[in-house]
């Protein structure tokens, strides 16, 4: 696999809401290399989540071009297939299904793939082990702590072997200590599973863990800072 290949290529991307009154993305440009870990920062309302939604094909842009994992998202009709194969989401809120066990929650994304239930279980268990939850696989999410829930969400995001993890403030609802555990886990799994990690965060210390920080302002990428830690 060519590590210099751009997995995300965005040019002049625009997206507005409320009949053009709100310009969430206003000529966004961004390139991300395969396997990279970037952090997206910027004030509230600047368009960070909107950018992530575009990359994850949850919504279509109005103008510009966006290519992710070789797929032109302005044109493709198979958005669900793209999301299922290429993207793993981690949200600020864990968004787990309360009446399903931890194990079942992790398996949910595999329903759209042709995975046998045996392989589904194997893969889910492997990831739950990786996030240190192998002893809680049969519990309901409501009985887990915030950090544990977020770890389940990370396992769920990785279960289909995506090429990109999109994390929108994954530590936003956690205390800083738990947040750090989650961050380290994400960073760890990103390199172990060889997956590109794009993470939105408000906290500078979180951003610094990334290889690169992208600042978004008024729907545009303002400046790109190479993180001091980046090797």
């Amino acid at each position: 696999m060519n590590n210099n290949e751009n997995i995300i290529e965005i040019k002049g991307l625009k997206k507005s809401y409320d009949n053009g009154k709100i310009k969430a993305l206003n000529g966004m440009d961004l390139e991300v290399k395969r396997g990279e870990f970037i952090s997206i920062m910027g004030p509230s309302g600047s368009g960070k989540s909107s950018l992530l939604n575009m990359i994850g094909a949850l919504d279509r842009a109005d103008e510009g071009s966006i290519k992710v994992a070789g797929i032109d998202l302005m044109k493709t009709k198979k958005l669900y297939e793209f999301r299922s194969k290429e993207i793993g989401f981690v949200f600020q809120m864990h968004n787990l299904i309360p009446n399903l066990s931890v194990l079942e929650n992790v398996q949910i994304p595999m329903f759209e793939t042709k995975t046998s239930s045996k392989d589904m279980k194997k893969r889910a268990l492997e990831l739950l082990k990786a996030v240190n939850l192998e002893d809680k696989i049969n519990q309901k999410p409501t009985r887990l702590s915030g950090g544990e829930r977020q770890r389940v969400a990370i396992a769920r995001a990785l279960v289909n072997h995506p090429s990109i993890i999109l994390a929108d403030e994954p530590t936003g609802s956690l205390d800083s200590k738990t947040g750090e555990v989650i961050l380290n886990l994400l960073k760890d799994l990103h390199s172990k599973e060889n997956v590109t990690l794009v993470m939105v965060t408000h906290e500078p210390y979180v951003g610094k863990m990334a290889e690169r920080i992208v600042t978004v302002l008024d729907g545009k990428c303002q400046n790109i800072i190479q993180s001091s830690q980046a090797g």
């Binding site: 939604n53 793993g88 329903f111 046998s116 239930s117 392989d119």
Partner: protein, 403 residues
């Protein structure tokens, strides 16, 4: 990724998807329970009415029975099932002279007022299908029993000269808990039950028969009869024969044929059927509204979750299938509960109330249950379609932003 055959894998996947569909309705137990109660009521109505009307239908079909008399002759102006003696006994023999008549039987229909059944029901004027709320007693010669539809007797028939022997229809025997050899109090006298019979006709099977002369004496109707049963010869036309009888005794005798009677009962039944369909439709409508409401609430509450399912790659089709499936799970559960309650309820009412139970034999025809199943399924589909469609069309970003 799947190691087995593609088909095998899909089967397993469908299994885990189904388990999710079955689990989801129980997330809000109260709301789901209320929806289930609503639909169950509809199912109870459909099954219970189906069992009762089906039972009545079976009974009318057996009124047209080979061997039994085709024509009933009564005095003009008296009620269709004559009660008490208004005709002279000799008429039965006279009618044999009319061409096309093969056999006749003079019978006396009366209503007893002193059995246990009668004492419990004689005060209610509506008292069911038996004449005037008591037990209907028919006087007939033992050798003519086949004309009234009694072909086989469990036990023996009464002898014509006896004054203390009766035979009894199976439905009334069951509700009075009597069998051959038991005694019964009629008109203040003790009778021994020599046999029981089952004709399939709900009126006949809810009655008691004794020798004509015995009943005539007991009711002060010496030499009187209420009806003459007429059996026509094999090649004769029933309508022609009944016309000849009426022509021979103008303004004195009226005839009804078994076919007429069946028709009349069928008309009544078709009215009951229409009414029960109308009630069922109303129940279904209310049930469907309940399901739609339940499912819309459920989708509304799970907006974010549906957004997540879309984000992890679930197709709109799958989300539609999930919500629709949940709705069908609700209604099929209601089908099971409603059917059980209806069957147990009908049986319970019929055993606890002998006056009704003595007359109606509920039908257990599979199509009653099939109909209820189809209705439950359709209510599930109809009630779930709109909420499922709405869920499947939710924009993922909007759904995820939903608080």
């Amino acid at each position: 990724m799947c190691i087995g055959t593609i088909k095998g894998c899909e089967k397993k996947l469908i299994m885990s998807f189904l388990s999710l569909v079955v689990k989801n309705p129980f997330r809000n137990k109260t709301r789901s329970a209320l929806a289930i109660v609503g639909i169950s009521i509809g199912i109870i109505v459909i099954v219970a009415l189906g069992m009762v009307t089906g039972g009545l239908e079976n009974s009318t079909q057996s009124t047209l029975k080979a061997g039994a008399a085709e024509i009933t002759v009564i005095q003009t102006g008296s009620s269709s099932f004559g009660s008490g003696g208004s005709l002279n006994e000799s008429l039965a023999a006279s009618l044999l002279n009319i061409s096309g008549v093969k056999d006749t039987a003079g019978i006396l229909r009366a209503t007893n007022t002193s059995t246990t059944v009668a004492t419990t029901t004689s005060n209610s004027s509506s008292g069911g299908f038996g004449a005037e709320g008591g037990v209907s007693v028919t006087g007939i010669d033992a050798n003519k029993l086949s004309l009234i539809g009694v072909d086989t007797i469990n036990g023996t028939a009464f002898t014509n000269t006896s004054t203390n022997q009766v035979i009894m229809g199976t439905t009334i025997a069951q509700s009075l808990n009597k069998t051959v050899g038991d005694t019964i109090d009629l008109y203040g006298k003790n009778f021994t039950i020599t046999g029981t019979y089952e004709t399939g006709n709900f009126i006949t099977d809810a009655g008691i028969m004794m020798p004509l002369s015995t009943l005539q004496n007991l009711t002060n109707n010496q030499n009187k009869i209420s009806d003459v049963l007429v059996k026509v010869t094999d090649n004769a036309n029933v309508t022609t024969v009944s016309q000849s009888i009426e022509n021979a005794y103008p303004n004195q005798l009226s005839t009804t044929t078994a076919a007429d009677e069946a028709n009349r009962i069928n008309q009544g039944l078709s009215f009951i059927n229409t009414a029960s369909w109308a009630i069922s439709l109303l129940a279904i409508f209310i049930g469907a509204v309940g399901v739609i409401n339940t499912m819309i609430m459920s989708v509304y509450e799970r907006t974010r979750e549906i957004g997540v399912l879309k984000a992890v790659g679930w197709r709109d089709r799958r989300i539609l299938g999930m919500i629709l499936g949940e709705s069908i799970v609700l209604t099929l559960l209601a089908f099971v509960i409603g059917t059980i309650v209806a069957v147990v309820g009908v049986e319970l009412i019929l055993t606890l109330s002998p006056s009704v139970g003595g007359i109606i034999k509920p039908s257990f025809a599979y199509d009653i249950f099939l109909r209820a199943f189809v209705v439950a399924f359709l209510v599930g589909v109809i009630g779930g379609l709109y909420p499922a469609y709405r869920a499947s069309r939710l924009s993922p970003t909007e759904a995820l932003r939903y608080e």
